[in-house]
């Protein structure tokens, strides 16, 4: 029997069972069911990924195969990337569920129900081949995420964060829906392959506007500048296991959707205007990476710090996609996996701190985690992964993107990666040095005046030990990030997946005509240039130095407000006001900007 519908159907069924038996199901049984479901999903998705290597798997729900090129029903079109992303989602949900075994004693099985539906929605989102179905799973994923984000209703910040998150993402979903409706009016189709086939070879006003709307809609989920504001608000306040999923995979799904739509629908219409798309996306990717990194270094709330690091790394992934080349796409995929693993590990680390020491405030925690040697070691290991040190998976991805960018004449891209790595990893090491080693001073103003956000405990019971269910997932995830970078053949597999993913004509032929599409991925170069190796090692070293400098007595403190760097950081921070009106104003600005810049670039034949 085909496995395709199971990654969605099984979590949904488990969610239904858990909700129906909410009142009488013992907590441990619910835990077991949820963990088993995540394991089953992981297995199915890995099997799907293996099966999708030779051929795109197309599954028509209700048995409605297309007639004369017209899709009647909804299809999953499963390539190695989609299945891989679903498998990765399942893995992170598994880690989050194991971690939360010691979490939330109070509230029955509702948390499990939300997590299961969240899992099913994210898997469906990565597997679907239908544009409206993508919107449905987007909304489903969002609805579960809003509730999970506001889970801690005892505090103000989670509620405000969840509201900001929900409002911006809902507006984004409707912007995307407007775009989808416009494409439907033009082509009379909702299946991506069919839409792609029906569109002309040059984008006109309608296609340009629709693409801009859809792009912005999913970029809001992807936290790309100027749509990134909600991310830090939501991540900083969500329960730790939820943060793992938000940062590890949900945000990346926004970018995945854009890439899927580009290569499923838009590659042909924009074929002559690739340079315009590349130019626009390189610019926003770079801006996102830089602003995220600056914001990240200025935080004292550890989860918020990690959230801004996610913004910065999303910018890097957007750069990987922006090049619109197979090698860079493969690199971006590896980067998504590598970053997701280490970021999940770091978030779990912060969750352990919250469990053990009842705080995630960097200054408050100064030196208080000296005895948590294992957690500290894991923290530094994950930080090295974040910096893209070889042989982490992040390095593989970064090197592939740098390499492609240099060949395409954008050699400066490597330095964006460098900048982001130094600042984000530097911030992580600074936290490590202060919290686990007690370096530096614990006064206000150390991080440039960031405010403290109150964070209540998430666990009950004894806190003098760290249960294996907590540090286990963190250690496994960080080591996996290392392993993915070492296993031979990973790059070839990513390359093959990217080739399949970007095969525009093959996708249509497979989905609509059930044709067999051969595949010949371009070979990967086995050795990276020494310069990119050296740069990555240099970035990690520089991050260490920066962290040391930030903790040393030489770090400029309050008195030197006038220094231009601090002023810049201060101004950047002031824009992140937490005010929903500001966020939506920026969202409007972004929508207009993307639409106009894209149209102008294409019309001028840039």
């Amino acid at each position: 029997m085909p496995l395709a519908p199971l990654p969605v159907a099984i979590p949904f069924a488990v969610a239904g069972i858990l909700a129906a038996s909410n009142k009488f199901m013992p907590r441990r049984l619910a835990d077991t069911l949820a963990v088993l479901c995540a394991v089953a999903n992981l297995v199915f998705c890995v099997l799907l990924m293996a099966a999708a290597r030779s051929q795109l798997l197309v599954y028509w729900f209700g048995g409605w195969t297309p007639r004369a090129g017209v899709a009647l029903g909804i299809s999953f079109a499963i390539g190695p990337f989609g299945a891989g992303l679903a498998a990765f989602t399942s893995l992170l949900v598994l880690a989050a569920m194991v971690f939360s075994l010691h979490y939330f004693d109070a509230i029955g099985t509702l948390f499990h129900v939300l997590m299961m539906v969240f899992l099913g929605a994210m898997c469906g989102f990565s597997l679907t081949g239908d544009l409206f179905n993508l919107f449905v799973f987007f909304e489903l994923m969002s609805a579960a995420a809003f509730a999970l984000c506001g889970y801690k209703i005892e505090e103000t910040a989670p509620l405000q964060g969840a509201l900001n998150f929900a409002i911006t993402n809902t507006i984004a979903a409707f912007a995307a829906l407007l775009g989808i409706a416009m494409l439907y009016a033009r082509t009379g189709a909702l299946n991506m392959a069919q839409i792609g086939r029906a569109l002309d070879s040059r984008p006109d006003a309608l296609v340009l506007t629709a693409f801009a709307l859809i792009l912005c809609g999913f970029f809001v989920k992807g936290a790309v500048l100027p749509f990134h504001f909600w991310l830090a608000d939501a991540h900083a306040v969500a329960p730790t296991p939820v943060c793992v999923l938000f940062s590890g995979v949900m945000v990346e799904l926004g970018l995945y959707a854009v890439a899927r739509i580009y290569w499923g629908i838009m590659d042909h219409p924009f074929g002559a205007d690739r340079a315009a798309v590349t130019g626009l996306l390189l610019a926003v990717g770079t801006a996102t990476a830089v602003v995220g990194a600056i914001m990240c270094f200025g935080q004292r709330h550890i989860k918020r710090l990690l959230a801004f690091s996610t913004v910065s790394h999303m910018g890097l992934m957007v750069i990987g996609f922006a090049l619109l080349r197979i090698d860079a796409l493969a690199g971006a995929a590896l980067y998504v996996v590598g970053h997701g693993l280490v970021k999940a590990s770091l978030f779990i680390g912060s969750g352990i701190l919250l469990h053990r020491l009842r705080s995630v405030d960097e200054l408050e925690l100064k030196g208080r985690a000296r005895q948590c040697v294992g957690t500290g070691a894991m923290w530094v290991l994950a930080g090295l992964g974040l910096a893209g040190l070889p042989p982490f998976a992040t390095f593989l991805g970064e090197a592939a993107i740098d390499d492609t960018a240099t060949k395409a004449g954008h050699a400066w891209v490597a330095w964006v990666f460098f900048f982001s790595a130094v600042l984000t990893a530097g911030a992580v090491f600074r936290v490590g040095g202060r919290v686990f080693l007690g370096w530096g001073h614990g006064e206000e103003g150390e991080t440039g005046g960031a405010k403290k956000i109150e964070e209540g405990p998430e666990t009950k019971g004894p806190r003098h030990d760290i249960p294996a269910a907590m540090y286990g997932p963190a250690a496994v995830l960080a080591l996996l990030a290392l392993a993915v970078g070492i296993i031979p053949g990973v790059r070839q597999a990513a390359q093959a997946g990217a080739t399949r993913f970007a095969d525009y004509a093959g996708y249509q032929a497979r989905v609509l005509d059930n044709a067999v599409v051969p595949l010949s991925p371009p070979p990967v170069e086995h050795v990276f240039p020494a310069s990119s190796m050296a740069r990555s090692i240099g970035a990690a070293a520089a991050a260490f130095l920066l962290a040391w400098f930030a903790l040393s007595p030489y770090w400029p403190r309050k008195k030197s407000w006038a220094s231009p760097v601090k002023r810049l950081a201060y101004n950047v921070r002031r824009v992140h006001s937490g005010h929903i009106g500001d966020y939506v104003a920026f969202l409007t600005f972004g929508l207009a900007l993307f639409g106009i810049v894209l149209s102008v670039l294409v019309r001028l034949g840039y």
Partner: protein, 114 residues
């Protein structure tokens, strides 16, 4: 007339955005979001319309009578559910927020600055 519904859709989207940005009350803001959403209703409905078409229900009419597009109507049904559920979630968040802060004005919230 042939462009009017599209104009209305674009207008409602912008009007909703305006309301959200100037809002001083989260409940007001959520209602504006509902108005913003109605722009998608208007657009979906009008792109599936056909002059002289009957509703896509062939209980009375014979099959083959020109009928309007049933697909957009199915999409709109989904859209309406989305509206109801998102509003419910947002309202619960707003009610809880008000319990803590005694305010619904976004201007008065400062927990997440910087």
């Amino acid at each position: 007339m042939s462009f009017l519904p599209y104009f209305v859709a674009a207008w409602l989207f912008l009007a909703g955005l305006y309301g959200i940005i100037t809002s001083r009350n989260f409940v007001h803001l959520i209602i504006c979001l509902a108005v913003l959403q109605s722009s998608t209703y208007v657009l979906l409905l009008s792109i599936g319309y056909k002059w002289g078409g009957v509703p896509p229900v062939f209980a009375g009419a014979a099959v083959g009578t020109p009928a309007v597009d049933p697909v957009v109507q199915a999409l709109m049904l989904t859209d309406i559910v989305v509206e109801a559920t998102v509003v419910a979630l947002l309202l619960s968040l707003a009610v809880q927020l008000h319990k803590h802060t005694r305010t619904l004005n976004p201007d008065d919230l400062e927990a997440l600055e910087g």
